[in-house]
């Protein structure tokens, strides 16, 4: 029988940063028992000017469920104070879907028989041109997690090409060492999204059977390495529904909170994806994260860290997305394709998951405007 790698031990090439944030997060989450909170804890949290970690725990607890309306009212005030009525627009571009990891919940899983591909620079340029015609200025480049098929040099070239058409370039790729983040920052990337998927180390081990992604701490410290490498912003997220979503959301908030304290210049944002059905595995269902629970998580993030961005994914339906922008979400994707390419030419590889909001940029734009919010294409200047 194949011996599995120890998921808590770094591989040789993986850099270790000097930090104890992982231990602090895991210890605090270990202590977190959301069933101990009562209505009074939630009420007390909602009366406070500034929420502490315990208040955040209360807002994520089942006791807070009857208070969603109050939380939403306050979240909207906080969002307006920190972001006005601005809503940023961006789109993701999948440039490759090769993957070396066997993550049992993911459509890109290396054991999954799907069409794999990666865009050549010529193909990528056509995609970028096509997207930029929609008026977008902010793009997120994504790959599957394969250091071999989509190496750092390839991603660097992609980032450079993207800066020809976009003012802000983010990356959602496999975790890197600090010097590699610094290289991609030099190439023009300014923000990094790495999602821990689940913060529960045992669950993480069960879900990530093989491949470098199996190594939990290397993934956990990606945001710190990215900020050390000069990146301006980092995004945090757990794939809600994979583990115990309340504990995972709590851990995500703590992770972001401690990273912001250590790197006060870092711009922090959250992405709250929940499990959606994916190719070849239709019977896997989201566990218990309905829209109500998802909203609870998003509101708790907003109230705990009112200055952090929250991105809402096209995994959610248009009606949900339109209602959370301005209330707690600050950033929304539009004109999304989750296949490799597919904006200009036919897609070169299959999708990672199914999307629920396939509206064009123009349609999302008019929705935002009809809500009295201000669509923002560009909120960044690279100097």
């Amino acid at each position: 029988m194949e011996t599995k790698m120890d998921h808590m031990v770094y591989l040789d090439y993986m850099e270790q940063v000097d930090s104890d944030i992982m231990e602090r997060v895991l210890d605090t989450v270990e202590q977190y028992d959301y069933n101990t909170y009562i209505v009074e804890d939630v009420k007390a949290a909602l009366c406070k000017d500034k929420l502490d970690i315990d208040d955040f725990g209360a807002l994520l607890s089942p006791a807070a469920m009857p208070f969603l309306e109050e939380m939403a009212q306050r979240a909207q005030k906080e969002t307006r104070a920190h972001f006005g009525n601005a809503v940023s627009l961006f789109t993701p571009l999948y440039i490759a879907n090769y993957c070396e990891n066997n993550c049992i919940y993911c459509g890109f899983n290396c054991k999954n028989k799907i069409h794999r591909g990666k865009l050549s620079m010529e193909e990528m340029e056509k995609e970028l041109q096509s997207i930029s015609k929609t008026g977008l200025r902010d793009i997120l480049l994504l790959t599957g997690e394969s250091r071999h098929q989509s190496d750092v040099k390839y991603i660097g070239e992609a980032v450079k090409l993207a800066t020809k058409y976009f003012a802000l370039v983010g990356i959602e790729i496999y975790p890197l060492n600090t010097d590699e983040y610094a290289f991609l920052h030099e190439c023009g990337a300014d923000y990094v999204c790495v999602y821990q998927e689940t913060y529960n180390t045992d669950k993480y081990e069960e879900m990530h059977l093989s491949g470098p992604k199996r190594i939990y701490p290397y993934r956990f410290y990606a945001q710190e390495r990215a900020l050390k490498g000069g990146m301006r912003g980092v995004a945090f997220g757990a794939l809600l529904g994979l583990g115990d979503f309340r504990k995972d959301a709590f851990a995500t908030g703590l992770h972001a909170f401690y990273v912001q304290r250590k790197y006060p210049q870092g711009e922090i944002s959250f992405s709250p994806p929940r499990l959606r059905p994916f190719i070849n595995n239709a019977e896997e269902n989201p566990k218990d994260v309905h829209e109500t629970q998802l909203l609870q998580v998003m509101l708790a993030y907003r109230l705990f860290m009112p200055y952090a961005g929250i991105t809402i994914s096209t995994r959610e339906r248009a009606g949900f997305r339109d209602n959370v922008i301005g209330m707690c979400a600050t950033r929304i994707s539009a004109g999304v394709k989750v296949s490799v390419g597919g904006h200009e030419e036919e897609a070169k590889g299959d999708e990672q998951f199914e999307i629920s909001d396939d509206r064009s940029v123009a349609e999302v734009l008019s929705s935002i405007e009809s809500l009295g919010l201000q669509p923002v294409f560009l909120d960044y200047i690279r100097v």
């Binding site: 006060p264 870092g266 909120d379």
Partner: protein, 256 residues
């Protein structure tokens, strides 16, 4: 009576309401400027999507004086580069320096702000630095060539009013440049209070942008700022202690 004007870097303004932009819908810009009697409005260069959609520059009336800000700059060097870019884009010589490398409170870095002010003033910019109200820093900014000083009343976006009142008073007393309260003003009454104290102008954004009726709130700010200014010029009367004048004299023992 001499006309009461605000003079910044040799430019005269009738209005003492400086509008921060960027937190309300661009379509409302014009109505807010008209109702607020605004003559100067800030412009975050990072929002200027020149030639693209949602370019804030496209919504600014022609007669408005643009005050490009360096929002997004984390160091003096980045602020200097953004200011130069603003000038290249034809935004004029005014610049509001914002140097922030704190994503939580968005507190300005006074030290980097002084450095940027010095460089940009030498390059002929009319420099208006946003700062945390510290008298020594204000003096340094003055000698670095600032054209006005923009102390914060409270953390940006907080709408909490003049939390730094006592420190702003020191700037009013000691600094010969216009003092413009920027950030934290949440209500017209707070703007009025600042003007009564003797600040030269008030800047507001969130307070207007988060109102239910945005253009009407712009009107309210204009009136409050005018009222506060008039009160300052008129000279506030004495405010008596609640018990009135002390009745038993402390100086009755004197025998000349």
């Amino acid at each position: 009576m001499k006309k009461d004007k605000l003079v910044i870097g040799g430019h005269e303004f009738q209005s003492r309401f400086i509008l921060g932009s960027g937190k309300f819908s661009l379509e409302m810009t014009n109505a807010v400027i008209q109702n607020g009697g605004v003559e100067m409005a800030t412009l975050a260069l990072r929002r200027a999507n020149v030639g693209g959609e949602g370019n804030i520059l496209d919504y600014m009336p022609e007669n408005i004086t643009l005050l490009p800000n360096t929002s997004g700059a984390r160091t003096a060097e980045e602020a200097v580069r953004i200011a130069r870019l603003a000038r290249e884009l034809g935004c004029g010589d005014f610049v509001k320096i914002e140097v922030i490398h704190d994503s939580k409170y968005l507190m300005p870095d006074n030290y980097e702000t002084i450095k940027a002010t010095e460089i940009l003033a030498k390059e002929g910019f009319i420099v208006m630095p946003y700062m945390y109200p510290d008298l020594n820093v204000a003096r340094s900014l003055e000698s670095a060539g600032a054209a006005a000083i923009m102390p914060l009343g409270a953390p940006i976006g907080s709408n909490r009013g003049l939390l730094t009142k006592d420190f702003i008073k020191m700037l009013i007393d000691e600094i010969d440049l216009p003092i413009i309260v920027d950030a934290g003003i949440g209500r017209p009454s707070q703007a009025c209070e600042a003007m009564e104290l003797g600040v030269d102008a008030v800047m507001a954004n969130t307070a207007v942008a988060t109102a239910k009726d945005v253009p009407l709130m712009a009107t309210a700010f204009r009136l409050a700022i005018e009222a506060g200014r008039s009160a300052y010029l008129a000279g506030l009367g004495r405010v008596l202690e609640s018990k009135g004048e002390a009745s038993s004299p402390l100086t009755g023992f004197l025998q000349d």
